[in-house]
């Protein structure tokens, strides 16, 4: 069993591409065997790409010593984030967003259903209600034809304050039965 220091050195050499192909393959298999190792491997690959990009972009603009120093600093930098599980939530951000969208849709759907349901339930307030006398009380004339007579329409107050219709028609007495 290798010591921690030896393991670190081997990983460092793996990162630097200094291991023999057989050893490199063994280290890669070992890393890919666990989620943490896979994440490490992914980060190193990203870092390697970043280094490659920086060196291509900055080649000629800075001196080699400064570039080497920057590379060294970036080589050492990932050691800390690799061991921190804090980067894991970033990988879970996508499903989290999906969950929010799904629950948002559920909430929106039920809100729409509730709105429709409440609108329908509220409808009977203006519908025929045999016992709902508070809606309209009293009586009123819609249309009247006095014929050849003259007449007047009155409104008289009922016992409960409601307005009651009175149609008064002038008349000559007709024959008794």
């Amino acid at each position: 069993m290798e010591s921690q220091k030896t393991e670190d050195e081997k990983l460092q050499m793996f990162f630097d591409g200094e291991l023999a192909p057989e050893e490199e393959a063994a280290v890669r298999r070992s890393l890919e065997g666990s989620p943490e190792g896979t994440a490490q491997l992914h980060e190193w690959e990203q870092l390697r790409e970043a280094m490659k990009s920086v060196s291509e972009d900055w080649a000629g603009e800075i001196d080699s010593d400064a570039l080497f120093a920057r590379i060294e600093s970036e080589i050492t930098a990932p050691v800390i984030p690799i061991e921190r599980p804090a980067r894991q939530p970033a990988a879970r951000a996508v499903p989290g967003g999906r969950e929010r969208r799904v629950w948002g849709a559920v909430a929106t759907g039920f809100a729409a259903a509730a709105a429709i349901f409440l609108a329908v339930v509220a409808w009977p307030d203006v519908a025929p209600q045999g016992d709902d006398r508070a809606v309209a009380r009293g009586s009123e004339v819609l249309e009247v034809d006095f014929g050849s007579n003259t007449g007047t329409i009155f409104e008289v107050e009922g016992g409960a304050g409601e307005s009651l219709a009175v149609v008064w028609i002038d008349d000559e007495e007709v024959g008794l039965p």
């Binding site: 609108a119 009586s139 014929g147 009651l164 008794l176």
Partner: protein, 167 residues
């Protein structure tokens, strides 16, 4: 995305089915109210300006003590006819002067009031009150007055669904 669409469709279908169920329920109740028979009462009162008695049964009908009825000093109930109004069918009540009151329940209004057509004429005539249309709440009367009779005036009160009267 497919899940979201399914949830929205379910929600809309839920709301629509609730609306449909409620709407059909309302339609049923509306039809039932419109097609059911409604009791009514026709009260015929002989009112005179001469001092006299006021029928005790009329004392609770406070409208008859207010203008234009307050000039009458005596009131006597001549008849109190109970009948049933059926939508579209005429109901007749004879008056003591030979005329007849014809009542027709036209419909139940959305607010629960009754739309009623009335006419008062001698048989086969249309010389007095050819047409009167009123809307009245259950238990609240409307009056037709002015026919002269035996030195007094006939006051005809029509109440639809009188059992629900609050007076």
């Amino acid at each position: 995305m497919s899940l979201i669409r399914h949830l929205l469709v379910i929600a809309v279908l839920f709301g629509a089915s609730a609306a449909s169920a409620q709407g059909s329920s309302l339609a049923r109740s509306d039809r039932a109210a419109a097609t059911s028979k409604v009791p009514a009462e026709v009260l015929v009162v002989l009112a005179k300006e001469e001092p006299g008695d006021v029928d005790p049964e009329l004392k609770k009908l406070t409208a008859l003590r207010r203008p234009p009825f307050n000039s009458f000093r005596s009131m006597k109930i001549l008849s109190r006819s109970k009948l049933t109004l059926t939508p579209g069918k005429d109901a007749l009540v004879s008056l003591p002067n030979g005329r007849r009151v014809k009542l027709t329940l036209l419909r139940v209004m959305p607010d629960g009031r009754y739309k009623v057509k009335a006419a008062i004429n001698r048989p086969n005539k249309s010389d007095y009150l050819p047409l009167l249309q009123v809307v009245a709440s259950a238990g609240d009367p409307f009056f037709v007055a002015g026919q002269t009779y035996q030195g007094g005036t006939l006051v005809v009160g029509v109440t639809v669904d009188p059992k629900k009267t609050a007076q």
